[in-house]
Every structure is written in C-alpha cells, then in structure tokens.
Symmetry: C3
Subunit: 365 residues, 3 copies
C-alpha cells in the first residue's frame, strides 16, 4: 500500500493499438456483427482510439455517419474514416478509409468490439464472498461477483454476470449472457431474458403503488404479480420496474430505458421502445412497439400508446394516442421577466378568448 | 448446478389453492382485517387466483368494486365475485359470490392474506454474513438478511425485517414489524416507525442540500438534523428522504410515497398523504394531511399546503395553497406541429392581450 | 439483545455542550474556516444547539443572516446570535452575540465544526468483511467500511472514506479526503477528485444511453469513455453520472448536485454550478460555470449554457443560452377547473392570434 495520487489530467483507461486490417477482419466475423466493408489504405497502419471526425487526431479512427457533414472530411486529422460509398468523391487526402453501407452501424459494432478488449471482464465462477443458496440453479460460465446474494430457487442462465453486491431474489430467473452491474436488485419471482444489461441501482420487482382508501387511510393492496422482461433489454442506473398487482408488469424484447426511469405496476412496453432519462410511466399504461419517450416525459396510467408514437422531452401524456407521430407539450422557456408576463396572462386566456368573441360580434354588427 | 433456462412463458410464482370457505373465515379474523362477509355458494369450491372481473377464468376470485360496472357480472367466467349488496340483483349465473359492504377493501385484505401465503418470508435471525455491531439492540423475532450492516447503537424493533445488503447507521431506530427490502440505507440517528415498508434503493438521511455562497463557491452547511418517520409509512424504490439542516425532516403516520420520490431537508408531510412516482418536494415545504400529489408533481421549497390538497401529475406548485381542492398546471400535449405553433404564439401572449385591449378601445370609440 | 422501542418523541442524536469562547476560538483556526469574529458577552456561557432565530430557546446559538429580519432580534430567546456589525444597533437584550462580517458563512462553518463533533466518524482501516483487491492502492488513513468492494487497480487517496457496501471498480481513482456514503458505485476507470462527498445510491460510470437504430432495433454503442469529477464536488443520493461514449463525462471543481439528478454521457458541467433535485441533463450538453438549475429542471442534449445561467425549477431548456440571466418556462398552476379552461383554450392559441389579426384589419379599414 502506498499513498495514492488521484484525479490525473491524463486518461485512466488502458489504451489499445490495432491495425486497420484487424478491425475490418474482426467486424466481418458473425459474432462481431458480420459487417462487410472495403478497406482503402494500408491494412497494417495502426489506430489507438475511436473518435468524432471534428476532433480526430493522427491515430484516430473516425466515422462520417451523415453525408451532409461530408465537408468535414477535408480538414480532418483522422488516420482513417468509416464512410459510405456516397461520399467517396469527397475523400481527397485521407490516409485510409473503410467503405461500408451504414457507417454509423459499423461504428457501433466497432465500439462493441473495442469495448470487449478494454473493459474489465469479471471472471467466471462464484466469488467466495457471495452468498448463493444451494437451492439456486447456476448455469455454465456464470460470474457471480463479490458479496452478491442469490436466493433459493433462483436460476442464473449460462454465461450471465451477476455483479458485485447484487441481490437476486427467490425463484427469480436471469437469462443467458445477461449482465447485472454492481448493486442491482432483482425481486423474487421476476424473470429477465437473455443478453440484457442492467446498470447499477436498478430495482426490479418492488411493490407496485396500490392502496385502497378507507376512512382517510390507505390500506395496502399486496402486489401479487411479478415482472417479466424480454431479451436484449437495457435498463439504466437507478431505474425501477415494479411488480404487478395481479398480473405481471411486462417489458418486451429490445426495450431500452435510460437512467432514473420509473415503470409502474402492470405497465406493458412493446418491443424496441426506448425511453430517455427521468421518464415515468404510471400504472397499467400500455406502450406500443418502436415508441420513443424523451427525457422527463410522463405517461399517465391506464393509457394506450400505439406503435411508433414519439413523445417529446418533458411532455405529459394524459390520454391515449392511437395514431403514430410526434407529440409535444412543453411550456417554451424564456427570460424570466417575459415568462412571468406571459404566464400571468395565460391564467386569463379563457377570458381573452371570450373578449375576442365579443369583439368579433361587435365588429360584425 | 445445471444449465439454466430462463424467460419462460409460464408463470414463475408458486400457486395457491384455497376454498372459498377458507377465504371468508380467514378475512373475518382480526389479524387479517376482521371483515364480515356473506358467502353465497359452495364453501368447499376452490380458487387458484385473484383477478380482475373482465379477464377472470374458472378458478379466479374476482371483485366488483364499482357498481357502475355491474354489467360485467353477466359474462364473467369467475368462480366467485366479491361484491356489495347493491348489485345482488345483477347476480344471475355466478357460481358463488362474497357479499360485503366494501368490496374493494375486502379485495385489498384478500391480497394481503394471499401474499402472506405465497411471498417469500425471510427467516428470523441474523444471517451469519451480516455485520451487526455488538452495540446494536436487536428485538425479538428480527430477521437480518445476508450481508446487511447494522452499526453501533442502532435499535431494531421486534419482528422487523432488515433485508439483504441493507445498511442501518449508528443510533438509527427501526420500529417493530417494519420491513426493509434489500439494499435500503437508513442513515445514522434516523428514526423509522412501526409496520413501515421501504423498498430497495430507499435512502433515508443523506445530507440535505445546503450551502452558503461565498465568492462564487458553495460552502457546505453541515446537516445536523435527522429524519423521523412515523408508523405505517411505505416508501417506493430509490426514494430519498434527506436529513434536516438543524431540525428533523418529518414524515407522519400512514404516508405513502411511490418510487423515485425526492423529499428534501426539513420537509414535513402530514398523515396519510400519498405521492406518486417521480415527485419532488423541496426544502422546508410543509404538506398537510390527506394530500395527494400525482406523478412528477413538484412542490417548491418553504411552501405550505393545507390538508386535503390534491396536486395533479406534472404540476409545479410555486406558492402556498390554503384551500383544499384539486390544482393543476400542465401544458396540454398535442401533435408536435400544433404544439409548436401554439407554443410560439404563447411567447407573444402578453402582447396579444394588449392588442385585444387596443381593439376594445377602438371598437368602443 | 433486548426488545427495542423505536420511534421516540425525543431527539435521537447525541447532544453537545460548548462554551461561546470555544466556538469563536475554534472557528478562528484555519482548518475550521479561519473566520474572525468578536464575541460580546460571557465566553464561558454554554450552548447546546444551533437553531433558527425565530424558534431559538435558551441554549440556542442562532444567526441573523439577512439584516432585513433584524426585528426578530427583539423577542428571541437565543443565548447568543451571530450577526453582522450593521445590526448592532438593534441588539438590546441579547445575552451575547458574535459579530462577524458574513454571519451566514460563519453559521455554515459552525455547522461543519459542530458536525465534526457529533456525526459518526468511520474508523480508519479496512473492515475485515470488505473485499479489497491486492492490486488496489490504498492511501494513508483510509477508511473502508464493512462489505465494501475495491477492485484491482483502484487507487484510494489518503484519508478517503469508502462507506459500507460501496463498490469501487477496476482502475477507478478516489481523491484524498473524499467520502463515499454507504452503497455508492464508482465504475471502472472513473476518476473522483479530493474532498468530494457522494451520498448513498450515487452511480458513477454506468453506460451512457447510446444506440444505433437498425431495422427497427437498437444496436448498442459501447461507451468507451469514463467520468472525471473534480475536487469539492457533492452528489446527492441516487444521483447518476454516466460514462462518456468516446470521451469522458466531466464535472468540474466545486459542483453540487442534489438527489436523483441524471447527468448523461459526455455532459460537461463547469465549476461551482449547482443543481437541485430531480434535474436531468441530456447527452453532450455543456453547462457553464456558476450556473444553477432549480428542481426538476431539464436541459436537452447538445446544448451550451453560458456561465451564470440560472434555470428555474421545472423548466425545460430546449436550445442553447448564450447570455447570463434567469430563464423560466412553467405552466402556472391553478385550481383544476380554471386550468382546464385555460389549457383547452391554449390549444387554439394560434387560431386566436389569427382572429386578432383579422379584427385589427377590420377595425383599421
């Protein structure tokens, strides 16, 4: 043990040095995306980082996702750029480029391959400090981190990762290849699919918020359902999904929820819907497939949102939406003094409308 | 250990099979509600689940809380329905029914009794992996889960449950029969009443947000108060209640807060008030008794809300409310294009009012 | 072990009894603020608590921060009041007073000194139940609490406190004198400065929310950056700061974030900016120095806020702000019936504007 010096100006993470040939070969493999691409330039030249085009330096592998920014190709310092055939005419002085149909998707696959090299990988096996019930069923190649708890009857799928200090309740099921970051809670009887990623602080299966009012008090309605989560679901830090009252709360395959999202009991979220941070969905709301909800959006309870509904940030949805489209409802911000005047007038808006009507009648007559 | 198969289509939870006679007898006991009811039908017939009337199947015990939905009685498949005397005329072909004054309350009591049979119950005693100070006082029948921490001077009441990986700070007090789910944090000196339920991720007693500005910097005001929570309080997952600056933050008996709620320092919440998910209450706000706040409502600091004030979802309360009633303030959502036009015009609203005034003068003259 | 009695009416925390002479001498020391003050009254008289002027009792040391409340001096029961020279004329019957240039700052320093006496202080050393990698570097005087995890390559600065059940990931760095409350998660490669305070449930370094859409699905963009946090930063309970996609998310020195705040990937927050509870900042937003954001404010992604921008509670910022000032955008709350009428009319606002135009033309002609 030595004295520590923290907070350095230099990056902390390990670096990687790979050749362009290695990149293109790796991403052509099925397990890394199976993406075809043509490398123009020296396959032996090396890159050390991935970065945005505008701040790229020598050693950076950059990408041009949107052809309308093609003018950025001219001045870049990047050692190589991932781009589409459509912009090849603009490539003049690049040392190298990787030509592929969907550069952004290629970039995404590249980050995953890169991450597999540099991100820590918890070792397979059960850490001796973990408390794992002898009645739990643990798959092959599972990693259970230090001080994790796995209760009786829980089932952990092959190659799943249970992070440090996680809690997996009785009879909960975690699918194969799913990864729980440290300090995730999976409640009893809840079911999580395969290849999911849950970040720290996620709580699955807390009781839904249900009470019967009686003489000014709230009498608890025990929540007897559970939570069922499909495959390829990602949940951000401190996001909550409550168990259902009688039936289950359901999150379908491919759903992505950001941090600090609240999903109440008996909500149903359709496949491949995504919600940004701080969103709330109240009880029994039914959200369609391929929807998006912007940050701090709020969906009231017992509503239905059709497939492909897109809710803007900060918008409260107070009734069902049956048509796809973009929906918004935010008070436009302004300098405080202007806002105050307009907000005060807003409280007279209905009266103003009546005054307009009166004027219209007067002018007409 | 065997290979796991997760994400099944079939329910995960254990089932229960009870006779109608058992149900009515159990709920008549004082410890399960002491509710009187008349069973019409075969007391020996069994049910396997509780469910809503509209999706009930044979084996389902359903309920009709609101007489206006009495028409649903006609086609239901339920084996038995909990209902009030007022709708008995509509009972035609039901195999059985339980007649009681307040069917919704009866249903709530039933869920609690049912849950007591099927939900996992942590065993009494201190798990050997827990770290419990020898200076803590542990009541009779207490359950302390694996890897929990109980610091010196803490007092745990009889039959309380401290879940796996909870942290109970120095001199904190937990009342009898209170249950902490896994990974709850109770800060030092904080006091929790009896029969409370705190869900995972709850943080009681983090420092309130207090700073003195000095030359462009924030100098910390140490938070010297604590948190005092009454009896029968339920707090949802990842909800926070900060300790007070000088005095305590106080939550009175019977308060129910949903997930991801923020209660700042020195807030005082009156008895039997309920707040839905994502609500925030800023410092030193004083909320009355029997209030409700809808999801993502926000109460600014140093305000007073009278008893029986109801704040709609998404509404920001910016000044004190002295009269009971329902209060709202949300921009109504619309298709994005319509919203954009109205929002842009909103920024000219004060000017529009002046134009109306001018017109009125012109028309008058 | 004995039966516990929780939820007492009397305060739970230990009391302190100090003389006024001790207070003034202590706060004059550089390590407690180095604040000069003149004590008028008996240096040997004792106080037992710090409190607000209006509720002060004998034994209370109170303060008068704002001269406009000087009339409160007349009737107070406080044993001593911290006040500025400007109000000395109003001091008539006080037993004692402490005269200093900035009473609120003096009060803040006093709370910190007081807290150092009464708040529990974790002992230095590594609790035997903690799981600390032999490849971690632990500074002098460090406290690592029970059941904490410190992974390989982590560096803990001198006199830092790692609370019970915290998780410090691989290669993470924690600066000297920084304190992590119980159950904080610091992700791998993240860097935290000196003298920071992170409250329970904080999650640093969860993956940013980044996906490439492909044929209706979301393909993960691995988040390859980390989080860099400066010195003297305080983060409230359950607040999240995500790791960057390619570069790091950065929080500069002296930033204060309250509870349940969401900081997305690649956000940059300038020095001494403060944000209240439930705020969200979306990806790649760049917030200036000395800004404030009120509770539940929301900053959309890829925006720039200049230094000294102040955002009101509940306001959504949807475009960059280049001028210092106060900005607001909240629908003013009202009784529900009034709100409903005004909100309904709001959806016709653009049409109303057109009707005003028409009227103006008609009246003019």
């Amino acid at each position: 043990m030595t004295t520590a010096h923290a907070h350095p100006a230099t990056p902390n993470a390990p670096t990687l040095s790979v050749t362009l040939g290695q990149v293109v070969a790796a991403l052509a493999l099925p397990e890394h995306g199976g993406l075809s691409a043509e490398l123009r330039g020296d396959a032996a030249s090396t890159i050390q980082r991935i970065g945005p085009l505008e701040t790229a330096q020598p050693g950076t592998l950059a990408f041009l996702a949107n052809p309308k920014y093609r003018s950025q190709l001219a001045g870049t310092q990047a050692s190589c750029v991932i781009l589409s055939p459509a912009v090849l005419d603009d490539v003049v002085a690049l040392p190298a480029c990787i030509v592929t149909a969907d550069p952004y998707r290629y970039f995404a696959a590249l980050t995953r391959w890169w991450g597999a090299q540099v991100r820590p990988r918890p070792p397979a096996g059960i850490h001796p400090s973990a408390v794992v019930s002898s009645d739990a069923v643990i798959g092959q190649g599972v990693s259970i981190g230090p001080l994790a708890v796995v209760e009786a009857g829980a089932v952990i799928g092959d190659h799943a990762t249970i992070g440090a200090q996680c809690s997996v309740g009785e009879r909960a099921r975690i699918g194969a290849h799913t990864r729980l970051a440290p300090q995730v809670v999976i409640g009893f009887d809840c079911v999580v699919g395969e290849r999911c990623i849950f970040h720290s602080g996620v709580v699955i299966g807390a009781d839904g918020f249900g009470f019967a009012p009686h003489q000014g008090r709230w009498e608890k309605i025990e929540q007897l359902g559970a939570v069922r989560i499909g495959d390829d679901v990602e949940l951000g830090a401190n996001t909550c999904v409550d168990r259902g009252a009688l039936d289950d709360t359901v999150i379908e395959d491919g759903v992505k929820l950001d941090n600090l999202v609240q999903i109440a009991h008996n909500v149903h979220i359709g496949e491949h819907t995504a919600m940004a941070g701080c969103v709330g969905v109240a009880g029994s709301a039914r959200i369609g497939k391929h929807c998006t909800v912007g940050g701090a959006g709020m969906i009231l309870g017992h509503l239905t949102l059709a497939d492909n509904v897109h809710v803007s940030s900060g918008t409260l949805i107070s009734r069902s939406i049956h048509q796809p489209g973009q929906y918004s409802g935010v008070f436009p911000f302004d300098e405080n003094a202007s806002w105050e005047k307009n907000a005060a007038t807003l409280r007279q808006l209905h009266a103003l409308r009546d005054r307009i009507r009166t004027l219209e009648k007067q002018v007409k007559s």
